[in-house]
Amino acid sequence: MSDVILELNELHTHFFTDSGEVPAVDGVSFKLHKGEVVGVVGESGCGKSVTSLSVMQLVPNPPGRIVSGEVNFKGENIAVAREKRMKEIRGNEIAMIFQEPMTSLNPVYSIGNQLIEAVRMHKKVSKKEARNKAIEMLEIVGIPRPSEVVDEFPHQLSGGMRQRVMIAMAMSCDPEVLIADEPTTALDVTIQAQILDLMRNLNKEQDTAILLITHDLGVVAEMCDRVVVMYSGQVVEEGTVREILKDPKHPYTKGLIRSLPKLYEKEQKLYSIPGTVPKPSMDHVGCRFAPRCEFAWDRCVEENPDLYELGAERKARCFLYDEKEKVTEGGPQYDEADPRG
């Protein structure tokens, strides 16, 4: 296995609101290897975006704060790093792109200005060199007429072009890790295909590790090597993209995949998971998914399952995979609908 470049270890990020403490990220651990693309999937409110913001220490504080846990970047715990150190890391070693490119670009500065700022922040280069670098980056991300676009403003570009500019900015300092938070969600499918293609090439050519936050399992299948599935602030399953999509273990992942309308299959009725995603809360007992789970039994309501190891980097947070359950009397009875089968 290649080197681990980024490792989250029992990360807890909580929000302190008027109505109480909200554990948005509740003990998340996973690893990102060099040159790898890892997808973090989940529905709204599962904590996937807060996880990525925590890595960069960009969680708005107050109300949010990293309560405990580590973010190890090449052996350094950056969850406790000072702001000065974080400024060196952000954009330079770990870069980030966001969902809505219009709100993440400054409307009153030209594209070139913003790219030059990013480069000059981290590298000792002259304005001229930085400008050339900016034009070069725009060309790499496939922007037509880069030497003209560099003097244009964000509103003059289309959504897909703006996202390309964001990627150019993120890649301008050759980061080792790129965090992409729903990079294509606001884009149309034909433009999404272009952007995914671009990101795949950058990953291959520059060997940048990508942490891809998304809710779209289709995008995951296209892009990722490994997948982390989150539900209500916790990791519920982890595995390679093939394992997750072809042989999901956790009942939530199974339900999620079954409830997708398929483009190339015929089906009569869609499967649907009953109920809605719960809000994370401090006084939650039992498995977060138990109220919606068709396999839940007493134990699921009483205690929260661990993330059981099923193999190398293959994990599921479900008592179905607890070795002890197999011998416990009164445990679940598997009939023809054995969810492990």
């Binding site: 289309s158 149309d188 034909t190 433009i191 295909a193 995914l196 296209e222 997708l260 309308p261």
Partner: protein, 322 residues
Amino acid sequence: MTKPILEVNNLKKYFEIKGGVFGKTVAEVKAVDDVSFTVNEGEILGIVGESGCGKSTTGKAILRLLEPTEGEVKFEDQDITKLGPEEMRKLRRHMQIIFQDPYASLNPRHTVEKIVGEPLLVHGMTSAKERKDRVQELLEVVGLRAFHASKYPHQFSGGQRQRIGIARALANNPKLIICDEPVSALDVSVQSQILNLMEDLRQEFNLTYVFIAHDLSVVKHISDRVGVMYLGKMVELADKDEIYENPKHPYTQALLSAVPVADPDAQIDRVILEGDVPSPSNPPSGCPFHTRCPKVMDICKEVKPVFQEDEEQHYVACHLYE
């Protein structure tokens, strides 16, 4: 033989761009430009396309929520574009709409009872007792509980709010419902609940839907026939299995191939289109797709292709098939 409930003929909707000192019309955005199709009773017609292709404007123009610039909309053989306001108001009970954003389409200051009950009042159910009973019945139909009637929209989740929107649309037993991106704001697990609900309701009440969405898998799942729009024009229309298995228009082909599939083994010949959708205020001459089309010919740059039947019930607007 099923009969058409809705006939749309040469529908156009242009928006004027005002400019200059005197606020003269300087240009037009051709949001919907000569679109024709029919919808049969009890069927679901899906309309797909990317942002700005005019699919939502088409939906709103059919209901005259946006006044069409030109063209005919026939609902049960009656051209509704010629009706006066009072006649139109009476007709609206048969034609309803469900909006995309369940957060924005419900009045936050009204209780669910008032939201769902208002169309009943407008269309003549004056007894408060009757309305209350009907609202409770409707809530049960869409999978909510009777006690939800006294709550406010902010007390519900996104999926539940969309159910309220559906209950409101169903209130007067409509025949046709325009669904404008009804599930695109919802999470996958909730999206499938709403899609199933809409299918059940169609069977129970013999509804006809025009289902507008940008998600090709969702449209394929729910529709009987699918129309593809690009830059204000319908470029292809066919039975859903036909269009997904045998797409004829190069745009449909590219669009279908661009959808990421949640299957690591899927083999797709991907056609990646270059560039962006041109501006509808200044559309390209000839075929609107010729600037991005991988199969572009000389004729495409000059002559607009005609939307015509290529095979039985398979309509396409492309010079390749003329």
